[in-house]
Symmetry: none
Subunit: 212 residues, 2 copies
DNA sequence: ACGATATGAATGAATG
DNA sequence: CATTCATTCATATCGT
């Protein structure tokens, strides 16, 4: 994300122990050969391309097959990886948005349906996530228009992070009003502290065993 | 926290690294200090308060907004910081507990990178967060905090989208092989407008193999 | 300075 | 589609 961290660890493909027998995760050097898919840079690039430049959000099973087949040349990959990738990418995008926007007026769905494309003339649906994105219903509507997507080049997808700003507001008051005591005025968090009752699950710490 | 280590260094400061000429690590011109959020003591205190005294473990997006807004008084913070904080705190607590639980001679296979048993029994409960305020029985002084948020400097977070993507896709053609992304027609992705929906379950299920 | 540890951030995989 | 868990990377800090 902000700054790719483990993206460089697997620049080459063939990360995960492609060796059939194995599970030789113990191998030094190649860490991560464990169970989880480690996308290569090429794979990620293509996935993002599909996501941002082609509006692919929830590819159909069929598309997933094709995509994974295509990505397989850059490294080991399975259909589910593609599936999860899109799911996660989309979910996190939305989630982040949710963190930082007010909830007071949350309109759940803006019934904005992306044109079934094929209009190729004025077909200019949001090319980047910043612009209005089509909420729901983007699921595999025939988005692609095999003909031409136009929009080559990543001119717009560069949302980057654009560091908030350099202003470092002090917000002094180190101890000024940092006195939220607690147990009483947490209305601002949304929990209801007014009653002494509490959720057994939450408080009884040693019990809720999340085996999972 | 576990045993506060940097708790004192940024007591009031205006968020880490005033840098400027600091050299050292920052040394980036305007880059408001490091890339990563460094919670202030007040922020941590409140977070722990919520965690231990109010049972907040996985705040909803809604709560995250409120919390981060509230914490912003004490320093720069974004929703994702709160989100990650709770995620991490919960996860690590669980991790530690895991060790503790299997106190039996589990010596074999401890893939953990850091047992970190050092601060184990120190602070896993509401006992003392650090500051000297009394948690549960805080005589409910009219704290009022919620009512008026100072909100000094930045009224608007304006944190753009703050997304990933910067990593590779944009212009860095690392391996040069995957060049079809931009100048390609994605016909290979297939456009199956007809049946669009796709059962994840079915797909995932049949996919769960592969492992080799 | 280094090495170890604590912890913020990211993301694959699941589950509801 | 939302949430959560597990893992892992990255970096700030501290101890020696």
């Amino acid at each position: 994300m902000e700054h790719q961290q483990q993206q460089n660890q697997q620049a080459a493909n063939d990360i995960q122990d492609g060796s059939g027998g194995g599970s030789g995760k113990g191998s030094f050097l190649c860490r991560q050969s464990s169970t989880r898919w480690t996308p290569t840079t090429d794979q990620i690039r293509i996935l993002k391309d599909l996501y941002y430049n082609n509006g692919v959000r929830s590819p159909s099973a069929d598309q997933i097959q094709r995509i994974s087949a295509r990505l397989r040349q850059y490294g080991k990959i399975e259909g589910k990886n593609v599936f999860y990738w899109f799911q996660n990418h989309k979910a996190r995008e939305r989630q982040k948005k949710r963190f930082n926007t007010s909830t007071t007026e949350l309109h759940h769905h803006v019934p904005m349906q992306r044109p079934t494309s094929l209009t190729l003339a004025n077909n200019k649906f949001p090319t980047n996530i910043n612009s209005g994105y089509s909420p729901s219903s983007s699921s595999s509507t025939g988005v692609l228009t095999v003909g031409q997507i136009g929009n080559y080049g990543y001119g717009s997808i560069t949302m980057e992070k654009s560091f908030r700003d350099c202003s470092i507001s002090a917000c002094g008051s180190s101890t000024a009003s940092a006195n939220e005591s607690l147990s009483h005025n947490f209305g601002w968090v949304g929990i209801d502290p007014a009653y002494s009752f509490f959720e057994p699950k939450r408080f009884i710490d040693g019990i809720h065993e999340e085996g999972q």
